[in-house]
Symmetry: C2
């Protein structure tokens, strides 16, 4: 696949000055914050979109916003590209470096700065992991809602860059719905603050545009996030159907009736088998599709909501309904789902697509996805956040066979175009990165893309921040 991925031509003027740049950075930062030995650069050569590797010019790991600002000021002055990096868990290649770039890693900025229950907020440094926010506020009865499968490792800074989601975002929204403010270093080293603990912000909502901008508008160093009260109880329930069509139509009907569970996850037959073999989660194996629906609240609330959902599922000929009877069983059900990617990786290579479709089109897109993958002679497993239409077809292939890999990539592109044509979108939570850069032209008109790039230029006219990502390489304005 890597053959298909092009980078911008490296700025030779930067590459040739590597030794000087490293010496300059060593003046700006303490020694433990600068990585430049080739073998030490290896951990930074790719991210979770592993189809491409390249060593960066250097890696800086600042400990303070002031250090980030000093690095940016320096790189801006000398025209050195900068690739920001959280934990490197990006599935779309958002953190992949390039040889003329300094990777700016936030991993040393991992402190919880404040927990404020009266305002339901936590203020944290950008390198803090997603899960450790919930851990820190748990004693006060709160949690941070967006929960990517990688939440043990991924950082809030990366979540902001990609506007990350997760299984429980159906009820609570994705990162942008849970972000209240950031401290951000602009490309020239200026530090700005956007949003805060208050509702709204006077002037333009720059906070909103920063969320999901994949590190191209500035380096977020601190974030204030909204906290949610832990529910009284929560219970996942399994609904098994004969066909994916039935399950998909059931999802649209649940949402159409006005019910919003915390999560509605979807698994087709291949996904059920893969996950059950790995996690022994107790999934039924005699069904063609499975929904994991999680309800929460008091016992009475859960009962009432479940009653309505069971009734709707009945109309779609549900075959199996199974409530978890214990916390252990509930944990197992989620373990099965959350380990889907890892479990799939044990049996085959795969690429995970991340398209979003209007719910009314769920069944149609699932059916067409099967057709597309079959046409390329490949297999697919579907395991995804059905409640908000965020699909994750996992296309299985053999990475040692370049032709198989090329077919998988082509099938993936067709599936994403299918999502767009159905009124949906190229991405739900993984971002565009390198992976979907060229597909942006399928989603957007030239006018749309030009307007996005004009906004980018208002932050970074020289294309220094994460320059190879998000936009097609051709048709960019001159830097």
């Amino acid at each position: 696949m890597s053959d298909a991925i092009k980078f911008l031509e490296p700025r030779q003027a930067v590459v040739s000055r590597r030794a000087t740049i490293i010496a300059d950075l060593a003046d700006i930062l303490p020694p433990e914050c600068l990585v430049h030995e080739p073998r030490e650069l290896v951990p930074f050569e790719t991210d979770a979109f592993v189809s491409y590797r390249r060593l960066p010019l250097a890696v800086v790991l600042p400990k303070t916003t002031e250090q980030v600002a000093a690095v940016m000021k320096y790189c801006h002055r000398y025209g050195i590209p900068v690739v920001p990096r959280g934990a490197g868990t990006s599935l779309s290649g958002g953190a992949i470096p390039q040889e003329d770039a300094v990777v700016l890693g936030l991993s040393k900025m991992s402190r919880i700065l404040e927990v404020d229950p009266a305002n339901r907020t936590a203020t944290v440094q950008a390198g803090v992991t997603n899960l450790s926010i919930s851990d820190a506020v748990s004693p006060q009865g709160f949690f941070y809602a967006p929960d990517p499968s990688s939440q043990l490792a991924c950082t809030i800074g990366g979540n902001i860059g990609m506007n990350s989601g997760g299984a429980h975002c159906l009820k609570y929204g994705v990162t942008t719905n849970n972000l209240l403010g950031v401290k951000m270093v602009l490309v020239d080293g200026t530090v700005i603050e956007l949003g805060g603990k208050h509702l709204d912000a006077a002037g333009y909502d720059l906070l909103g545009i920063v969320c999901g901008s994949e590190g191209q508008l500035g380096i977020v160093t601190e974030a204030t996030v909204r906290l949610i009260a832990k529910p009284e109880g929560a219970r996942p329930v399994l609904f098994g159907f004969d066909t994916s069509e039935q399950a998909g139509a059931c999802v649209a009907d649940i949402i159409g009736s006005g019910i919003i569970p915390v999560a509605i996850e979807f698994m087709d037959k291949p996904a059920i088998e893969i996950c059950e073999a790995f996690a022994q989660a107790g999934y039924p194996l005699d069904v063609g599709a499975l929904l994991i629906v999680e309800v929460e609240g008091s016992e009475a609330e859960m009962e009432a909501m479940l009653k309505s959902i069971v009734e709707i599922a009945g109309r779609h000929h549900v075959k199996t309904v199974r409530e978890s009877q214990s916390a252990t069983e509930a944990a197992l059900i989620w373990k099965g789902r959350k380990s889907a990617f890892g479990a799939t990786g044990r049996i085959a290579d795969y690429i995970c697509m991340d398209g979003t479709v209007p719910l009314g089109k769920l069944s149609y897109v699932l059916e067409k996805t099967s057709e597309i993958v079959a046409r390329f002679g490949l297999r697919v497993a579907n395991v995804f956040h059905a409640g908000d239409g965020n699909m994750h077809p996992l296309i299985l292939f053999n990475a040692n066979d370049p032709e198989d890999a090329a077919r998988a990539e082509e099938a993936g592109n067709e599936i994403l175009k299918l999502c767009v044509d159905a009124g949906g979108c190229l991405t739900g939570e993984h971002g565009v990165g390198i992976e979907k850069r060229d597909l942006m032209r399928h989603q957007y008109s030239d006018a749309d893309l030009n307007q996005q790039m004009a906004v980018r230029a208002a932050f970074d006219a020289g294309w220094l921040l994460n320059p190879s990502k998000v936009f097609p390489l051709e048709g960019r304005p001159a830097a």
Copy 2:
């Protein structure tokens, strides 16, 4: 007050060409879509921030996106400023025209285009009123959540421009949290589409930045909004306290405990008396401050939530707790609250401030507000959305006394600065408009403002769209 308000110098080259411009516009639009006789322009000379009036050059009332695009293309080519207008209910002067500008009113674009229950969305034209969206989707069991007090009149286009809120936004969020997509005409007449029925959007979140941009980035002509299922039941409950401090601390404690009612409205003693005299809502008159807390859901859910709230209120020495016993009583309670501005207008002139503060600072800011207003020899009534910290001090004064008016304005500015200094914000839901333009320098650093203006320039480099608003007149980049 109007003396204090400056406009940009009118572009004389535009004003002097008025007759030609009107003739050109008459070629572009059908006759019923163009208003230019001076006496017919009068209804457009101001908005609900009535301290300033000026006749526009002309008013256009297009019926289609294509007509909007044609007007923008023409105005862009000839450098004619354009002031977009919904229903003219802005409290910050967002729709006030200027004599060198064409007012572009969306009132003729008021159709509901589609209601889609499976995706919980409605797609409407920008000139549709806020309340008529809820009316249109009510048969399917849904409503549109943000509910400004002016919801009978104000339009969704205006709501998007100002990122409007309302009493019930505590649970459901303000406009930006309920907006999924727009069709928008750029300054040069290009039509773009942002967002859609799907979760997330690839590339930058331009939709988010358009919401709250006060008509400066483009003309929104269509919007897709999220619908919410109507709850099983809803019940407002009155909590009376001896002091505002107790009531304020109680609000912070409710939210801090993780409970999110649909609404927590606050009224101090003057506001209670004014509203009760007007609406006979049955508010207790022997208390110093009143909270209207609305809970919703099933009977059991409401009971459970109320139990917790009553317990917390008890810790703050609540004096009166009264649940509404009927739909009539509930409607009266809300009528009292929602008519607060009108009722105040019957007894005095007033200016309504719109600051937002972190909840932990509510009591402090209320106390300081009283001090400030007393220092200026004026009176204040406080009636506001306490649950999300969105304060609305109504400063009472005599508009026929210019000195009194000047004092009111000065007191208002001090109060807004107080909100900012307490970690809050100049606005919660009314926008910046003309009113708070110069205070932006108190909220933002030069770097912050310059970045906002750079983004504006990426949409409208010539400052043609609503140019006198949002940013201080001094220190703007050359157009």
